[in-house]
Every structure is written in C-alpha cells, then in structure tokens.
Assembly symmetry: C2
Homo-oligomer: 453 residues x 2
C-alpha cells in the first residue's frame, strides 16, 4: 500500500470509525457468538496469496463485529468504562505515524519532553505538592504507564530496591535474596488485586491490613501490624493505599466499597492517609497511593480535599484513560524522587535488531583503504571505522551527527571505537545508502586532510 492508497483507505476508515461510533447504539451491545466462532470464519492458515483490501475490510463486519462487546455503547453498563474520544483517536493516528521509541531523550526528544511537561500540567491540575513535579530542577516528576497495575508494581519494585540498598549499606554481607525473603508490603484488605499481584511478581510477602467498619485502614491498625511483623523479624517497606471498587466478573466474587482516599465517608478517607502517612514517613516505608479511577475527580476543587495527605506519599497514580477521554492505555504516575525509580531498574544498553539482508554498504567500506570493517557483517549491520585512533573515529562520528544528514550511533568492539551503520527504515533504498557513504567518506577526507602528515 503506497501513500496515495493510504490517503484513500485512511479517509474511508475515518468514515467507518465515525459511522461506528455515531451509530453504536443501534448495534447489539453484547454479541451472540459462542466460544470458537471466529476460527470457523477464516482459513486454517494464512493465505499464500494476498487478499484484496476490499475483502479484508469486508471481514470487519463479517468476522470481527459479530464478536465485539461494544464498550462504548450507551447500553453498556458492565465492568467499567474505558475512555474513547475523537481527539484522542486523531492523536493516536499521529503517534502511529511518527512511530518512534522514546527510550532515551536522544531517541526522540519531543517524546520525553512532552511526557514530562504534560504530566507537570496534569499534576498542577491535581494540585499535587511541588515535590511531585519535574519543573526545570525538580527531583520528582510524572511518567506514563500502561495501567495502574503497572504503576503499583513499579512503585513496589522501586521501594524494594531502595530498602535493599539501605540495608546493605549497614550490612554489606546480607544478600539481596535474603533481604527480599524478609520484606513485607501492606495494603488495605479492600485493595486492588493488582497490589497482590505486584507482591506475587516481586516475590515479597503482601499483607492485608484489617479495615475499620468504614472499610478504612486506620493508623492504629497499621501500627499494630508493623510492631507484630518487626517482632517476627520481618522488614516492612511498602504500603499501598488504593481506592477502587472490586469488579464483579462473576457471581462468585465479592464487591467491595471504596476505601481510603475516596470513600463514601470522606472523613475516614482523610483520617486514613493523614494517619498512615506520618507513620510511613517516620519509619522509611514507601507509601504509594493508587487513585486509578478517582484521581480524575481531584481536578475538581470540591473533590480535591479527598487527596489531602498526598504530601506524605512517595508515589501516586491515576488513569486518564478512565475519565479524561484519553484512549486506553494511559496511567499517569508521579514520584517524589525520580532517582528511586531509575535506580530500581538498571538501565542496560538496548539491543540491536535490523531488517535488511544485503550489505552493499560493506562493499563500499571495504573498497576504501582508509577504512576497516570491525566485525563480521550479519543481516545488515555494518560495524566499521577509520584505520587509526579511537579519537579519530570519535571525531568522525561527531562530525557525521553534527552535519545532521544521517544519524549513526557508535559502539566499542574489543577496545576500539567503532561506527555502527544499521539499515533501519522500510523506505531505505540503495541510493540512500550510496548517499550516506559519499557523505561519510567526504567527511573522512576532510578530517584526514586536517591531520599533520
């Protein structure tokens, strides 16, 4: 499919999407299909010959829609809402086109900076304490996770890593696994199942603190458990306060009421954080507040008091994809110390993958006596360098990237500074590679001429 066809098909798809959402209430909200319905509607194996685009599109109504539960139907009162809006759909189209991976600032500066600045905006809307904002010099800040469950897991892992470092500082002899086996995290007995799952993944004990008759964890209840567990040789390190309903997927599960931060009984909600916060802060226990759904409400002045006590928290999250009309998935998370999270996940170099077989670039390099190939060329990555010092090659790379015509990153191979030429784009043609080589070779000539002979 070329750009011209995409323009046509894209506009057809926009109309299909608008028709779908505009007329969604005319569709039966819950499908009639039985498990296994779809397999029988399509071939057993991928067809060898491509189908026409028209036939593929026909399958949307023939194969997909009959099995869709229409979450955005006004007759959908099940489970929970997931946000969806036209502006959000437009933004997703743009993101898909840019299709960058923002694993570092340089990988796409706009990606990192927009996220940081927008989460400052959102944090200010929630009137979060300044500690949680990145600003220009802040140590805190926000980051987007996929779900509240991920945010909780990340907070737990950051807390686990922090306490391990803290303990090993005094007892260098204690192994990580030994410390982990003693760690204990807490949540309300009303808390989100993802808190339990986070404990499961992190391999730490997760205890539920009994709640009072208002379904709220009180300070004395926490205090009591902490004393018991310390007496038993355990190491309390994490408390998660969440404020969600339990969803009823079937009649065997149990519904729970709000607890903590946003309850049917605001007074107890206040008590909760403001009682638990100081206790956690006093003994270096990480407090995470999961306001997955309710968080959006705190933008309204009349609800904001329910977030009082947030100043005691180490991390906080809520889901714009629930209530702020942002398409799934977008869970906003803030921490007071970015370094706690960064420290918990050793940032390792990423790994290289590439997708062109021919290495015409290799032959160009080999044909030039001034250069050498530094590693066997496999599947389209060429590691090469100017014969000579690392300094020489560092300068060459700097000039290549400063010129901005092409973009390369370096590597080190057996102590040598090496340039990596990886064919990446689907649209890269021989002419681009020829051009790139001429450019590199020209910059190399300039550089070598400057050297004293």
């Amino acid at each position: 499919m070329d750009a011209a066809e995409f323009r046509r098909r894209g506009k057809e798809m926009v109309d299909y999407v608008a028709d779908y959402l505009e007329n969604i209430e005319k569709r039966q909200v819950y499908p009639d299909v039985e498990p296994g319905y779809l397999r029988s509607l399509i071939p057993e194996e991928a067809p060898e010959e491509a189908e026409s685009y028209e036939d593929v599109v026909k399958d949307i109504e023939r194969v997909i829609m009959p099995g869709v539960t229409h979450w955005h139907s006004p007759y959908f009162y099940a489970y929970f809402p997931t946000a969806n809006s036209f502006p959000s759909l437009l933004a997703d189209m743009l993101c898909g086109a840019i299709g960058c991976i923002g694993f570092s600032w340089a990988a796409s500066p706009a990606c990192t900076e927009l996220e940081t600045v927008m989460l400052d905006w959102l944090g200010k809307m929630l009137k979060l304490p300044a500690d949680f904002l990145a600003g220009t010099e802040g140590r805190g800040g926000g980051v987007i996770q996929g779900t509240a469950s991920e945010a909780t897991l990340i907070a737990l892992l950051a807390a686990r890593s922090k306490i391990i470092k803290l303990i090993q500082a005094d007892h260098p002899d204690r192994s990580e696994t030994d410390i982990i086996s003693k760690l204990v995290a807490y949540s309300s007995d009303q808390a989100h199942s993802s808190v339990e799952r986070a404990g499961l993944i992190a391999g730490v004990k997760m205890k539920k603190i009994p709640t009072d008759n208002k379904f709220s964890v009180r300070g004395d209840a926490l205090q009591k458990v902490l004393e018991e567990d310390r007496a038993a040789g355990l190491i309390p390190f994490f408390v998660c306060i969440s404020n969600n309903y339990k969803l009823l997927l079937n009649s065997t599960t149990i519904v729970l009421r709000f607890c903590a931060t946003l309850g049917t009984t605001p007074s107890c909600a206040f008590d909760c954080i403001t009682e638990l916060g100081p206790i956690c802060n006093a003994v270096e226990i990480w407090m995470h507040i999961d306001a997955a759904y309710a968080g959006s409400a705190f933008i309204c002045p009349e609800f904001r008091p329910l977030l009082n006590g947030i100043e005691f928290a180490d991390s906080f999250n809520f889901n714009p994809h629930k209530w702020l009309l942002v398409n799934f998935d977008c869970s906003a998370m803030w921490v007071k110390k970015r370094s706690d999270i960064i420290g918990a996940f050793k940032i390792e170099p990423l790994y290289l993958k590439h997708d062109h077989q021919e290495s015409e670039f290799e032959s160009l390099v080999r044909a030039d006596q001034r250069f050498e190939i530094s590693a066997d060329v496999v599947l389209g990555l060429v590691c090469f360098r100017l014969k000579g010092s690392n300094e020489l090659n560092e300068t060459l790379l700097k000039r290549i990237n400063n010129a901005r015509n092409i973009h390369l990153v370096p590597c080190q191979l057996a102590g040598k500074f090496v340039l990596r030429f990886a064919v990446c784009a689907r649209t890269t043609e021989s002419r681009h590679i020829q051009e790139a080589w001429c450019h590199i070779s020209h910059l190399a000539s300039e550089l070598l001429q400057e050297l004293p002979h």
Copy 2:
C-alpha cells in the same frame, strides 16, 4: 468534537500522516534541539480556555516535529528499526475506535479469538511444533505481549511459579520466599539485558553462562554450572536463550555478536539449542527462546533450520513490530502449556471504575417496591436486586443479558446475588438509563408473574 468534525479532522490527519511519511526524507533525521527545548514553547500550565483545533494542529510542526528523531527516515541508521506501515496504521485506527479491553473472552470475544487464531497462523508460518499452537484442543498457544522483555519476564515468572508449586508439593513446609531465595536462572553471557532485568524484578539469582569462542553456550558449560549450583544448594529452574545484538547507545557500551539460535556460525547455533534443550528437559528446567528480531527470518525456509531445537523449549517469542511491518508494540509469545502462564498470575477480579455522578437509576429502583438497593450508591454504580432469593435474581440477570438490549454483570454482596448497573459509556444519556430501567422492570414483571403465588 462531534462525529461530523471528526470526519473532517480525521481526513486532514490522514493527509498529514501521508505527507509526513511520503516526505520524511526531506526532514532532518536528527533534531537540533537542546534538552528542555519544549517547555519554553508552551504555557507553564494547561490553559483554562480551550484552544482552537487549528491552533493545536499548528503545534505539531511548531512544538513537536522540531524535537522528533525521525525513526522512519531512510537516513536513520541508528539504534534499531521499528516497524511502521500504512495497513498497520489503518488497523490501529479501527482498534482505537472499538476501544475494548479484552481481559476475558466475554469482555470482547473477537478480541481473544482473533489473537489466538492469528498467533496460530503466525506459528504455522514459523513451523512451530504443534504443541505451541492452540488449535481447537491444544494446550499451548500464542499471546501478544508489548515487548520481548515482557515475554521474557512472563516466562521467568511462570517458570518460578511452576518450580515453587513443584517443590511445595513434596515439601509443603517450605515457604515461597525461602524457595525463591534459592532459585537460580541462567542466560548466555551474550544475552539481552532484559533477561537480567527480569531476574531483578522477579528477585531471583540470574547467572551468565560462559560461551565458547563462537559466543555460544554449549551443553557442557551448562552442565558444569548446574552441577556446581546444585552442590551449593541452589535450585536451577530457568534458562533463557536469546539471539540479539547488544545495541550501542554510547561508546562506553560493548557490542556483542549473535549467540545461540541465529548466529554468524549456524552450526554452533544448532549445537546450542539441541545441546541445551535435552539437558533442560531432563531436569525440569524451563527453556525460553527469545528470537525477538531473528524470529521473523524463520518464516523463510532457508532460515528455518536455525530454529531447530525449538521442540525442547517451553516458551518462544519474537517481535512482529520489528520486521513484519506491524506498528509498535507487538511481541508474539508462544507457550507449550497455557496453564503454566495462567497459573502464574492468579486471575483476580478486576476493579470497577465509572464516570457518572448522578444516580437517577437509583431513584428508579428505589421507587419500585419489588427491588432493593444493596449498597450505598457512590459515583454511578448501583448495586440492586429483586427482593427474594438469589435464584430469582440470577434468573433475572440471565434474562436481561439473553435479551441483549443492555449488558450487566452481577456481584455478590454479603452472600446475596446482586445486579450491578454501572454507567460506562461517554454517550450514555438519561433516556438510555430510563430505557434500561423500563426493560429491566418489564423482565422482572414477566418473571414474577411466572412465580406461583
């Protein structure tokens, strides 16, 4: 923004996207901006008054594009490729519009079934052993993860959970944390950093097995380490074989060559899996093969031999978002036993979040003497039931959902079977709620009339 405006804006966006991708090589591949550039281009806080759509769109070129590293430029030779294609962009538009959360079959049958069947298609293209396919009765099957790192983590956690159950079956007294502190997982000393990170997250020891001069882990090397570790009282449980290059983000990191499954030395690649596989299988060690990038190549008959030995693996993954023109993120993962993964993550009830304040539905229920409200109504969830037996209410719910006009799910509250009415859709209006109540109350009347008096 209404549907009519979306039609207009959507088509403009399609053209913008087509223009962007068609002319991407005219854009400077790497941006000139300095860290912090973006914050200065926009207000300190979210504007109180909405901006016009035109002004928002202007910001794409004014604020975003100057800071974008253009990953799809034919002059981008850095890092690694991420797939992007017009058909994939069209599919994403449709997914965004449907916007369902597929956490269970019923939550959207098409979602679950399409994923299962398409991964069978893909598995057949790779000629995976039949154990890895779901088919109609298979115990294995494929699932889509976000990244290869997630796939590795999930395999590790599944393996951890499996070994813990195995050990506790013989030694019910041994605690989970005690067992975890003895577990040890292995990867090649050439393996992907995500393997290490997975160990870090799961809180288990992760050891790197020395490779031979072909950068390949050999059977005797694994055998040796296993014997040493068992002698030291450790419990080997997981081996990850990956076949990626290490990416050079900066000159301080080190490039590594392919190891294992797809190497510059295929013979050693063969040796590797076929040597390690039987050792792992013999002693109940989970073998995961991460072919994140190279996996796509195995679709070609000439590369498929490099996957020989896959029959010994418990799990396998590769990334269609690398080489199969599927937009990020799409990492395909297969397991021989679905139950191993499901068992590792206790499926807990999900939690309810909803977004309407008024509970006009509550007043309708309260006005009907035949019904009772089962829990305080907070923020738009109404838990209600017919006065009478659980059976009566189960029948009512069955009739409501069978009628297909609206969709509800039940819950259990203090032993009582209760119906949950959660206002979910952005487009739900009073009339829909009125309609829903008339429908429910009508079905209730029918039901009650059938009862003997």
